[in-house]
């Protein structure tokens, strides 16, 4: 994975943008109890977040009243937070900027193209080329000490959303009691991401699960094989394009229709 053709575009540019947390950053309340916050919805008309679905009662083209509602929602993009972020958020960004400057390679703004603070949680949208170096810095720098990786998983924001596939990593600093979310946005046809196993060995199974469920290829993973689905399974079930049900059941030659096509009791 090299060359700048793979360089991810920042979320929130263009119509739709990559979905993620939207956020009115609320500097004053960060680090305290978080009450209701105003959610800033940005105008990204003409796009949707998520796949359009037909309603439970065959309703199309309108707001829908069923649980399977094919509600077409306006797309939204996570708003970048502005300084001051509040609480310890500024300190972490400053320390990371300083630590990254020490070794002379890419600086913070190159590594992280957007910082979002929403509902008291901080998310960094990371350029995938810099992920491993950034994670190593976060883990080893004495002022950061994110020594614990809580998990890696994926999110599929649905068809029609630019960079619909996200890889989300949750880090925890036990020393400073801080939590940080790293997010990488990927195109579906270029779903490749560097592996974090060399920095956090615990990422092993998490990345296998993300490969299994979303088809994200983690480059550098020691043995990227399926973990929850059978080895010979076709497709990646957590993708939005993959149906729920409707898959022929092995051994029984039976098929369960998807929920919206099952028998209706009317």
């Amino acid at each position: 994975m090299s060359g700048d053709e793979n360089k991810p575009k920042p979320p929130g540019t263009g119509a739709g943008g990559a979905s993620g947390p939207t956020g009115a950053s609320n500097p004053g309340s960060a680090g305290t109890a978080f009450g209701p916050q105003e959610i800033a919805r940005r105008d990204v008309s003409g796009s949707t977040a998520g796949r359009a679905r037909e309603g439970m009662f065959g309703i199309q083209g309108s707001g829908d009243t069923s649980g399977f509602g094919g509600l077409r929602l306006p797309g939204y993009a996570p708003a970048p937070a502005e300084r001051p972020y509040g609480g310890w958020f500024d300190e972490v960004v400053d320390e990371t900027t300083a630590a990254l400057a020490d070794d002379g390679a890419a600086d913070f703004d190159t590594c992280v193209h957007q910082v979002t603070v929403d509902r008291g949680e901080m998310t960094w949208y990371v350029n995938r080329e810099q992920l491993v170096r950034l994670a190593r810095t976060l883990r080893d720098d004495p002022a950061l000490r994110f020594e614990f990786c809580s998990g890696v998983s994926g999110v599929d924001y649905g068809e029609g959303v630019p960079q619909q596939l996200h890889v989300v990593t949750h880090l925890l600093s036990m020393t400073y009691r801080r939590r940080l979310r790293l997010e990488i946005a990927l195109e579906l046809d270029d779903a490749r991401c560097p592996s974090l196993v060399e920095v956090y060995p615990t990422a092993d199974w998490h990345e296998r699960e993300t490969w299994d469920m979303f088809g994200v290829v983690f480059e550098g993973h020691p043995s990227l094989t399926r973990i929850l689905m059978p080895d010979d399974w076709n497709g990646h079930p957590q993708l939005k394009s993959y149906p729920l049900g409707g898959i022929p059941v092995e051994y029984h030659d039976a098929e369960i229709p998807p929920p919206d096509q099952r028998r209706a009791y009317t």
């Binding site: 993620g20 306006p74 509902r119 614990f148 809580s150 009691r177 956090y200 729920l244």
Partner: protein, 440 residues
């Protein structure tokens, strides 16, 4: 003419990988005789094996009786809970996630609901928070009892199993009385809990605490001083602190390595900061230390239960916001639990708006503002959290349960390799994985 054959006899067949033997228990000697001289044996244990703690498959490479390589195969209990949640309303999601880690259903519900509530920006009423704490601590006792019971069974301490399950039955009876179901309660809902505790709950819980206070010391009498139990567990399944951190291990295993990391104290939620309890730790980092910690944690949970009873003040158990709270008041009728008569009278006879509101909220559900949230809590097995993403609709865009069983199981090879085959079982039992949560 029917052919009689012993279904339990050892059989073997030739493959390109070498000879494959099927051994069922009593016929080990036969296999050992046939394989004498081979230095390396690969054993496939499970997924249906009484001592692998659920449908877990172990592939062990042995040199003599020493495990040189251990590999775990999971996924046999994958039920697509996360995928299913995307097709249901936020409230219905509770009934899915509660089935993930089936020994700690109330923890799954709480982790999920706390994340939904952070997305919604609501805070549950005090009484609901205290009821959640109360139920979770009762559930924690039940979960630890199963850990001891199944762990005992796997090591041959069958009285440990019968006693553990007998005590756990008390927990399930109590939870049935309080929530209506023994397991998979779906009692904790976004915004609070589904209904208030039934009349007479306090006496029942106090009686339960008394019974458990009487019986928990029994484990010390039965197992702690037991020579065989100690020999099987002491120094087995060793995993020091740096190994725990690198492998993402949390819960009693992390605390057995000396770090007092309990989210109830370091990142309090639901008012845990107001409770007076201790986080037991050990430095032995072995299976025996984990056993001791679980027994001690049950005593601490009893303390929390008593304090929670003191803290319970009358009040609402669900947020007041009518856009989120379930519209119907439930009551017991002639045909069981259902919408209360006053509510039915109101929506059917008096208020068209109430009927529309009821219908919309029940069929479509409430909308959750877009964004993502993740609130970690301390489950009996470690850090449990639900990473939820909303696109602003009535159903989740993504639900991911960060289940401690899944993460902790990764540490099994580090604990088992270099030890004996029999120690693999002890190490695995000390991890206490629940495959329902692991595979989801």
């Amino acid at each position: 003419m029917t052919e009689t054959r012993d279904p339990y006899a050892a059989s073997s067949r030739e493959t390109t990988e070498g000879t494959v033997y099927t051994v069922t228990g009593g016929d080990w000697d036969e296999m050992v005789d046939q394989t004498a001289g081979d230095e390396r044996i690969v054993i496939n244990m499970g997924p249906q094996h009484p001592s692998t703690h659920g449908v877990l498959r172990l592939v062990l490479e042995l040199s003599g009786e020493t495990v040189t390589d251990a590999r775990l195969v999971i996924g046999y209990l994958h039920t697509g809970i996360e995928k299913n949640c995307e097709y249901r309303t936020w409230t219905q999601g509770v009934t899915f996630v509660t089935r993930a880690d089936y020994l700690a259903p109330l923890f799954n519900e709480t982790a999920y609901c706390l994340s939904v509530e952070r997305l919604l920006g609501v805070e549950v009423p005090d009484r609901a928070a205290t009821i959640r704490v109360l139920l979770m601590e009762i559930n924690r006792i039940g979960s630890h009892l199963v850990a001891l019971a199944t762990g005992g069974m796997e090591l041959g301490a069958l009285t440990g199993m019968t006693n553990g399950f007998r005590e756990r039955e008390e927990v399930l009876h109590l939870l049935e009385f309080l929530t209506g179901l023994r397991m998979n309660h779906a009692f904790i809902r976004p915004g609070g809990v589904v209904q208030d505790l039934p009349e007479g709950y306090e006496e029942r819980i106090r009686a339960f605490v008394k019974v458990m206070r009487d019986r928990l010391p029994g484990f010390h009498k039965l197992l702690t001083g037991n020579k065989i139990w100690r020999q099987r567990l002491e120094g087995v399944g060793y995993l020091p602190l740096d190994g725990c951190l690198a492998l993402g291990v949390t819960g009693p295993i992390l605390r057995s390595a000396g770090l007092a990391w309990d989210l109830r104290q370091v990142e309090p939620y639901l008012g845990y900061e107001h409770y007076d309890f201790e986080v037991p730790t050990d430095t032995a980092a072995d299976s025996f230390a984990r056993y001791l910690l679980r027994v001690e944690e049950m005593s601490q949970s009893l303390r929390i239960i008593e304090q929670a009873l003191e803290r319970l003040e009358p009040g609402p158990v669900m947020v007041e916001d009518a856009k989120i709270a379930w519209p119907a008041r439930l009551s017991i009728g002639a045909d069981g639990m259902g919408n209360s008569l006053e509510h039915v009278r109101r929506i059917m006879g008096q208020s068209m708006e109430s009927l529309i509101h009821h219908f919309k909220l029940v069929t479509e559900g409430f909308k959750v503002p877009p964004g993502q949230a993740c609130v970690p809590i301390e489950s009996p097995r470690g850090e449990l959290s639900a990473h939820l993403v909303s696109d602003g609709g009535t159903r989740p865009l993504r639900v991911h349960m960060r289940d401690p069983s899944f993460v902790n199981l990764q540490a099994a090879p580090a604990m088992a390799e270099g030890g004996m085959v029999s120690d693999v079982i002890a190490a695995l039992a000390s991890l206490d994985p629940v495959m329902g949560g692991c595979d989801r």
